[in-house]
């Protein structure tokens, strides 16, 4: 009896602790986000300018370097969707209806999702690893005692770069994903690539592309802040950096998918 009571207390205690830790982390994430936005907007008036050169460098590593991988994977996703779509619709003899399916699914859903997941794995982890390593080698302390805000110096440029490059990559991913689907369709059913894109253009509205971009903008914020929160929370040497990096990616992908669900639900009611 006493043992089960103790167990109950232990479970309650650990649940409480996890809840408090979770809330604390969410709070920290929001304070980090507001601090980085603060520096972006007001840094220049406070002698803490967010440097264009730092931002440009981040844009290169986050965005431009990710072009090939995003392109290849989105092409593959396009082909995959066309394959599955044709296979399913063939039963009803409705293969041409695959075109709106591909166009809408890619622009509204797959393109922002896949792009963000790739960027999270590539750059979200890199942000966490960089900040984490700097923390354990006292480089973050060094920045602070130099009078340089680490958030302004490390997070703000990454946030700007991410918020510009992820939506931009998403638009590119839209085009390449639809192209991948089009190539497969042109090869397998009697519709030319030209006719395919002609049809796509009549189906797509600006709203579809914008919805994808808006989502990817939110995902960009999630990736950056998740990377930064985990980087700044690193404890315990190189192993800690490894853990934080993994955690940053897993958490950001989870939050991306959850946000996507909520956002899609709200936007498409």
């Amino acid at each position: 009896m006493a043992a089960s009571k103790n167990r109950l207390i232990a479970v309650t205690e650990s649940t409480g602790k996890y809840t408090v830790d979770f809330l604390e982390e969410i709070g920290y994430a929001f304070s980090l986000l507001s601090e980085s936005i603060y520096w972006i907007l007001f840094g220049q008036f406070k002698k803490q300018r967010v440097r264009l050169s730092n931002t440009a460098r981040e844009m290169m590593t986050i965005g431009i370097s990710a072009v090939p991988i995003v392109a290849v994977l989105m092409f593959a996703i396009g082909v995959m969707m066309a394959t599955q779509g044709i296979h399913t619709l063939r039963k009803f003899g409705a293969e041409p209806h695959i075109i709106p399916g591909i166009a809408l699914a890619i622009t509204r859903e797959f393109s922002p999702l896949i792009t963000s997941i790739i960027i999270s794995g590539r750059s979200g982890s890199a942000i966490a690893a960089k900040i984490g390593t700097m923390k354990i080698s006292q480089e973050i302390d060094a920045l602070r005692v130099m009078g340089i805000s680490p958030v302004r110096y490390l997070v703000s440029p990454a946030l700007i770069a991410m918020c510009i490059m992820v939506p931009a990559l998403t638009v590119m991913a839209d085009v390449i994903g639809m192209f991948g689907g089009g190539v497969f369709i042109a090869m397998n059913i009697d519709i030319s690539l030209y006719a395919y894109f002609d049809r796509v253009m009549t189906i797509l509205k600006a709203e579809d592309i914008l919805q994808g971009m808006l989502k990817s903008f939110l995902f960009a914020i999630i990736i950056t802040i998740s990377g930064a929160v985990n980087g700044f929370s690193v404890k315990g040497g190189a192993e800690g950096v490894g853990k934080a990096t993994t955690r940053a990616v897993v958490l950001s992908i989870s939050y991306i998918i959850l946000t996507d669900m909520i956002f899609t639900f709200i936007l498409n009611r």
Partner: protein
Amino acid sequence: MEDTPIALIKNLTTHYDDVEILSDINLHVNTNEILVIMGGSGSGKSTLLRHMLGLNQPTSGDVELFGQDLKSMRMQDLCNLRQKIGVSFQGGALFNSMTVGENIILPLKEHTKLDDKTMQIMMRIKLEVVNLAGFENLMPDQLSGGMIKRVALARAIIMDPALLFFDEPSAGLDPVVSAELDELILTLKGAMNMSIVVVTHEIESAMKIADRIAVLDKGKLVQIGTKEEIRNSDHPRVRMLINRIPENIQPDSDEYMERLTRENNI
């Protein structure tokens, strides 16, 4: 004549979780003096340094730099205040992704509007000061331990701070290199009128450079005084540090057995 202190610590008490690390520390640093904070491992001297830099929040007590209380300062004012101090960390804390030159220039780049050429010249002057002329294009991982400390020092003094903090200048260095660093610290005090706080456990180095020495032991300030006062101190802990006497803990055999077998008794 006693100047107004450049740094002042009042009744500083700090905890790490529930463990008390520093207990009621009172200390000040005068203008243009070298204050050495000395103590064995785990005496709390590095923690004291972190509090003097405003990197940690104390449980109670105040730290004032240049007459301003760190606890009540806004982030922006703290950033501005920190431009007047320089810090050389124990491990150097150089930015690994930047060259030596870029490391040293960073504070100038962030806080001034000087043009590139001027900053380059200032960086080279500081490299000359620390005897590392011509090393600006190397990366930190290509440097030896002593060189890293000297680059860190060059970066710490690039803004010509009024107050310089130096954490363990001799740790991990051979006697010749650490003697050179001691000379460098004395030069900085003489030539640049800096007030310098050095944290170290090396008694020899402390005796060479200090104007005053503060001895910390188990989080308490045991004694503070001039070199002579510390050398002639009759405080047992200070004598132990000076004469390198190991702490002689008398083992209690019953307690010892109890500690070894404690887990099994449960």
